[in-house]
């Protein structure tokens, strides 16, 4: 097993052979991938060294300190966080070789074609069809809430391949070329005025069978790998006090005494306490992970932050008084990155409404906590053994 000292040595070797100051960023990133220092827990030849996942921080710290370029992980977040682990776990050797390197280098941006207008929280109800035609699949349907679709070269896609099977069993997982004919991306404008997401219309899109991931009909199980990885991304670095949404409103309170009222003061202190407790809960989770004892508090983090962000940003608009009546601008922008806390109070208030919906609604997450953490019985359901085509749509 490779250890921290060995990784540190390899990081220094990389820096010595490709000094960041004199190497083009793309060349440095390519050399880093080939040295196995992109994601150290991946296999040799695929950007890794088969080292423990936790040791990635050793490499990152070493390279950051030397001013090495990074691959803008936020821009390629879906590829890094969702597509890559799924392809690694379930893809063919050829798929791994073809897709992982350009994905990590940021040369190819990925998006995720999962959600549909009729299949949000009940994702397995999806109706996008993929029909086999020799060595290719012909896909028709509509996807929604697709971030980065307008930038993406590739998509992970789940589609129904057997309408006669119960809904969880008739789904297959594909890699979809977003430049193919029949793929149409339309901006989906949100309550903030921006179009951070897209609708994607798929009309007779032809996907070669070599871009299928896993077996036909196994798409739901594979999608669960993807979704679990979506929620794993908690716990990296400690958050400072007032590090989140409570920061800007606390600063405004301190700097603008003329805005203060007693009612707002009591509510601000309550939210400040809750934000600090949420921070400590996250820190406790991080310490548990570091000690090799992951706790179920991960489910708590998203739920707590969603509610807090909404309450704090709502209070901030009120605190601003006359200024709270104003909004930055309503021009439809197409941001490359999701920005929860930036911009102004009105934007934060409106954007945070999505926090309790995206990545699992708070209602669904509360069910998960109740059933998986507290062991409460599941609600009865009658959709498990019924063919998808016979379910109410």
């Amino acid at each position: 097993m490779i250890e921290a000292t060995e990784l540190r040595r390899r990081a220094r070797d990389l820096l010595a052979a490709h000094p960041p100051a004199t190497t083009a960023p793309a060349d440095f990133l390519a050399a880093r991938f080939d040295a196995g220092l992109a994601w150290v827990h991946y296999p040799v030849g695929l950007g890794g060294l088969g080292a423990p996942r936790a040791l990635q921080t050793v490499v990152d710290a070493e390279l950051d300190a030397a001013g090495a370029p990074d691959n803008d992980p936020r821009r390629i977040g879906i590829g890094l966080g969702m597509a890559a682990p799924t392809i690694l776990a379930h893809g063919t050797d050829e798929q791994k070789r073809r897709f992982l390197r350009p994905l990590w280098l940021g040369e190819e941006v990925w998006c995720q074609l999962f959600s549909e207008p009729g299949a949000g929280s009940d994702l397995a109800a999806l109706g996008t069809r993929a029909v086999r035609d020799g060595d290719t699949w012909v896909v028709d349907g509509q996807k929604v809430w697709t971030s980065s679709a307008h930038l993406a070269r590739w998509a992970i896609l789940i589609a129904r391949t057997d309408p006669d099977a119960p809904k969880h069993r008739g789904i297959t997982y594909f890699l979809c070329d977003m430049t193919d004919p029949g793929v149409e991306v339309r901006p989906l404008r949100q309550i903030t005025g921006e179009a951070e997401f897209n609708e994607v219309f798929l009309t007779g899109v032809r996907i070669p069978d070599s871009h299928r991931v896993g077996e036909v009909g196994d798409g739901w199980a594979i999608a669960r790998t993807t979704l679990m990885n979506e929620r794993v991304s908690i716990g990296g670095t400690p958050v400072p006090r007032e590090g989140g949404m409570i920061g800007p409103v606390s600063r405004t309170w301190r700097e603008r005494p003329e805005l203060r009222t007693h009612d707002l003061h009591q509510r601000l202190l309550d939210l400040w306490v809750e934000a600090e407790v949420a921070r400590l809960t996250g820190e406790r989770l991080r310490q548990q992970l570091a000690a090799g004892r992951p706790g179920p508090e991960g489910s708590a983090t998203k739920l707590s932050f969603a509610r807090l962000n909404q309450q704090i940003s709502g209070l901030e608009v009120e605190l601003l008084g006359d200024e709270g009546l104003l909004y930055g601008e309503w021009t439809m922008r197409r941001p490359e990155l999701v920005d929860f806390t930036g911009r102004d109070a009105g934007y934060r208030y409106l954007r945070s409404k999505g926090n309790s919906i995206e990545g699992g609604t708070s209602e669904v997450l509360l069910n998960i906590v109740a059933e998986r953490v507290l062991g409460l019985p599941a609600e009865p359901r009658d959709d498990k053994d019924v063919p998808w085509k016979d379910l109410a749509k």
Binding site: R260, L269, A378
Partner: protein, 378 residues
Amino acid sequence: MTDLLYSEAESDLRAAVRSLLTDRAGPAELPARVEDGTPCDPDLWSALATGIGAAGLLVPEKLGGQGAGHREAAVVLEELGRAVTPVPYLTSSVVATETLLALDAGELRGAGELLGDLAAGRKVAVLAVPFTTGPAADPAVGPVAVADAGPVPAVADAVLADVLLVPRPDGLYAVDAADARIEPRVPLDLTRPLATVTLTGSGTGAAPGTRIADADTARAAVRRGLLAGAGLLASEQLGVAEWCLEEAVRHTRERHQFNRPVGSFQALKHRMAQLWLEVAGARAAARNAADALATGSAEAPLAVAVAQAYCSRVAVRAAEECVQLHGGIGMTWEHPAHLYLKRAKADQLALGSAGHHKDTLAALVDLRPPVTPEARQR
């Protein structure tokens, strides 16, 4: 960075305390003991204080204690909260003990010896202030000297005390309980006795007992005692909340209505899941306060204020939810849920209300209240 986890030694201590309380003090037997007027079982107290050595956790070994610390005492309090155990741990082993620890025990007659007695479980001492008194926001003001203003109301565990620690304008006095009038009152929390304490000679200037600290030392010491008490009370509140959540989950899993376990209804599941989130927060906040006290961190007052402002509310909510989710059963005297509700509600007032602690916080993190017109003119 603050250590928010439990060490192996702390887990062992928890197991020992839990096992003792499970064998000897299950909440199911409590209503009968309360009815008898003897909620506190002296044998149980002795087993906890002396057998396990819990009473001396905060006291250094050279003064006769275990030389452990606030993190360990917090674990004991979690378990005492889980079993709503009626013992004078918080009042004697935490508040009174911490107050005495702040004195220079070598110089002031009696304090060192008393500390040794408390650590060994030979005596019980309580600070003779109302149980609602919190550590004040401003160290220059500090907790007030109350004993000369007449009877002291709502002194917790005074009926169990051998010694009263009495703050007076000129210092802190150790008064033999026999030299004070201690009138038991009927408490909301059946598991923590309250009494009105009147000192013989009150108002006459004839102070009984032994002066063990001068005025300045006394103020700082009382503040330290109350700060540790408030900080560790959060762990008791966590224990109360944990029991309430677990019992609500257990009950709703087993109880069937409409041909289903009631715990399968989403309306109920979401309430318990939400409560679980809050209990997870309370655990982080309580651990943070215990660790800050244990390390003598400059952030201890902030950590304590956050823990109290949060945990007192969570314990009350958990107890209220527990009663409601038990349906009619939750309203009965036989079911122990009411003991937890009473403890949680009384704890909400104890050692400073949430409002008291939020005022402290507002000063500590510079989130000041609005300036009133009168104050502007000054």
